[in-house]
Symmetry: C2
Subunit: 417 residues, 2 copies
């Protein structure tokens, strides 16, 4: 199909989600294709933070733990998030970081397996998984000294081959952070269960990007970020979910007072709270939680089918435009073309990917760069339009055609990209 | 000594720290004696949060990781806090929660001991320690299954007797959360080292309340809260410190990408960063960190000797006034009278402590209640005056003399106190 900017504008007029753009404060003269790294600012968030800081903290002080509902925020926000994950109330809490929640989920899963299948010592993940997932597994294995090992799926070892009767736990990202590859959660979980393993899903690049169906897929545990597609703000606390069947059976070692059945009895011995609260540990950053709630409140209003349809329409458009209009340049698509295998971002390799991305940013198109050579573009249906995609690709084309990316300042590496 | 309100007013006029009260927004008609649970709002904090939310997040978005210095906040804030702890730059980071940092410090200490003294299997703490400290130890022991056990100091087992050649790690609170008892950190650490144990200190009720001297005391690890005497805001991230001698030797299992030597190389294998950064794990709540910085900026200006002198003067005054003016009531001081053994809060037992505290709160004197029967009063020298102490005790006296605490509504228990 041949695209034009006019056709993009018409598609925008017909877009049922177009109104959501007004719910966010977006910077002028910017096409923001990095909402999969840090989401944007919901319009009510500043005011909400002022309330929390001035009235709840400044004026009501310690009483706000009760009167402003601070104490219940992790479960309340978890329940707000649940529908987006295919979860029921009481199954999710918002707390800590994704990295830490990975540790808790992994510990809980290993402990279940220690009882059911003590001989299983393999934790299976993917070489191309986000590094923190692998690092948390490595940290646990080293610390436990119980003979666990990390096995990695890669080109040489596909999933079907890697899943055997040694595997205790399978830990995968639903959407790959680099390529955007989307696993079939139900099928993979089924395979894991068939072989006696438990399945943990990292939803960092899935939650808020597409409808997840944790209960439908019969998953065991899940974790994820809220500062990406959920627009919770920089470093907003993460979430963790547990399947109903593990609710009162699971246990995890980061067992602080917030996970205690009666935290204010100040008992000497730990006794876990019923259900999901036992994934809580210590006191949470309330202002950051309150900001996150603003993002969740927007996300909950979105029709998930419309979200997915627009996400696929925009990622299709992006891929087709790049291939049509930047065809002569050494760009290699690493995101699946198949809809059922694609998340909500698009990545291309380019031998000079780093410099090309710096040039894009300097020209108002903000994506990010990921080693090795990957230009990554987050496509967030809530605040991007078809015309944004058109314009972004035009700027990419100009940069590539003119060679303007090849300036010294675009090759200089900063601390973080 | 016989006190009068006039004498209190004169003492306030001579108070070199009196000006600090102006640095905070305090609620009207309230005497806030709970700054050891949740500190107050520094005046610049609201504006700072607006900057972070509107400009750094809303406008600059992902770029702020570099341009606004978000990436360095954990170490930068750690270095700001360091002088209050008797620490040098590069030894402290601000991150996660006190509970989680306890786990990291304990794991790091046990790992050092596993190499030095593998036969030592006792983790020594105190029955009266804050529960989360005990729960984190219990969680780790259960998870490791390496034969560790928790031994608790109490009336039947004093420290000198409990410290033997089975002890791997001693974990104590510098100031007890309930009684305000202050350990001699240098002497206790010395005893621990003499017997071959490592010492971890929980500074939750010490940091910002009195000058701590971690390096002077030769401590091994320390953790603590920032939302109490440091006025960081509700749930502001905690800190963790490591002694220079362990800097590049220690290791901990919550080894997320933020603790990696090169987090953005996306390597498959974890390789720890040099120094204190290896205590970092995942992405931190930036807005809550920025608010904390406002509290730290005030705390850093305070002369630590003046702080300690005023803290002791006010806690002395509080104790003497209660004993003089509420003498006929069944109040039992559980805070040490000795200056060198006292932190910055004062606690009394009263058989109806819960109801008495609710009546105090209803009358504008905000302290808190801790099981069993304990009325706890935080004495924060930065924003309390001698006259506040006088007035608070007068209100306590009226409540006790009139018996007005004995109303049904003051006996009703909420979720959190
Ligand atoms: C000694 C001590 N440690 C830890 C905590 C709290 O830990 P967290 O911030 O992880 O909830 C407190 C809270 O009062 C405390 O008094
Ligand atoms: C799959 C995945 N997991 C985890 C994270 C981040 O974890 P944390 O929030 O603990 O830093 C990311 C960040 O991009 C991610 O892509």
């Amino acid at each position: 199909m041949k695209h034009t900017r006019e056709a993009c504008l018409i598609a925008d007029q017909q877009d049922p989600l177009a109104g959501f753009r007004q719910r966010f404060d977006l910077p002028a003269n910017t096409i923001y294709l990095d909402g999969n790294s840090l989401g944007v600012l919901p319009k009510g968030a500043l005011e909400r933070s002022q309330q929390v800081i001035t009235r709840e903290w400044g004026h009501d002080l310690i009483r706000s733990w009760n009167t402003a509902g601070w104490f219940d925020m992790p479960t309340r926000l978890g329940d707000k998030l649940a529908p987006l994950l295919g979860a029921d109330p009481g199954e999710t809490v918002v707390t800590d970081t994704t990295s830490l929640n990975l540790f808790k989920a992994l510990a809980a899963a290993l402990r279940i397996q220690r009882q059911a299948h003590p001989e299983r010592k393999v934790i299976l993940s993917e070489r191309d998984n986000f590094p923190t997932d692998l690092y948390m597994i490595q940290g646990m294995i080293e610390f436990l000294q119980q003979g666990y090992e990390l096995r990695l799926i890669d080109e040489a070892l596909p999933l079907e081959q890697a899943l055997d009767d040694k595997v205790a736990v399978l830990l995968l990202s639903h959407v790959n952070y680099r390529t955007g590859y989307l696993y079939d959660m139900a099928a993979v979980t089924h395979s894991a269960h068939q072989c006696g393993a438990l399945a943990i899903w990292d939803l960092a690049h899935a939650a808020g990007a597409l409808q997840v169906d944790l209960n439908g897929a019969d998953a065991d545990f899940a974790v994820g970020c809220t500062y990406k597609y959920l627009n919770g703000g920089p470093g907003s606390p993460a979430f963790i979910w547990v399947a109903p069947r593990h609710q009162n059976a699971f246990w995890q070692p980061l067992s602080g007072w917030w996970g205690h059945a009666k935290p204010f009895e100040m008992a000497t011995d730990y006794a876990p709270a019923q259900g999901i609260r036992r994934f809580l540990c210590g006191t949470q950053p309330i202002v950051s939680l309150a900001l996150l709630e603003c993002g969740l409140d927007v996300a909950r209003e979105v029709d998930s089918q419309q979200l997915r349809a627009k996400s696929l329409a925009l990622t299709d458009l992006f891929i087709e435009l790049v291939e049509q209009r930047c065809g002569g340049h050494p760009l290699t698509l690493i995101t699946p073309r198949e809809h059922v295998r694609r998340g909500s971002h698009v990545s291309f390799r380019h031998p000079q990917g780093f410099a090309v991305m710096q040039a894009l940013i300097a020209n108002g198109v903000i994506g990010d760069y990921r080693e090795p050579e990957v230009l990554r573009f987050g496509v967030t249906p809530l605040y991007l339009s078809h015309a944004d995609i058109w314009d972004a690709v035009e700027i990419l084309r100009e940069i590539l055609d003119s060679g303007s990316w090849d300036r010294p300042e675009f090759h200089r590496r900063g601390a973080v990209t």
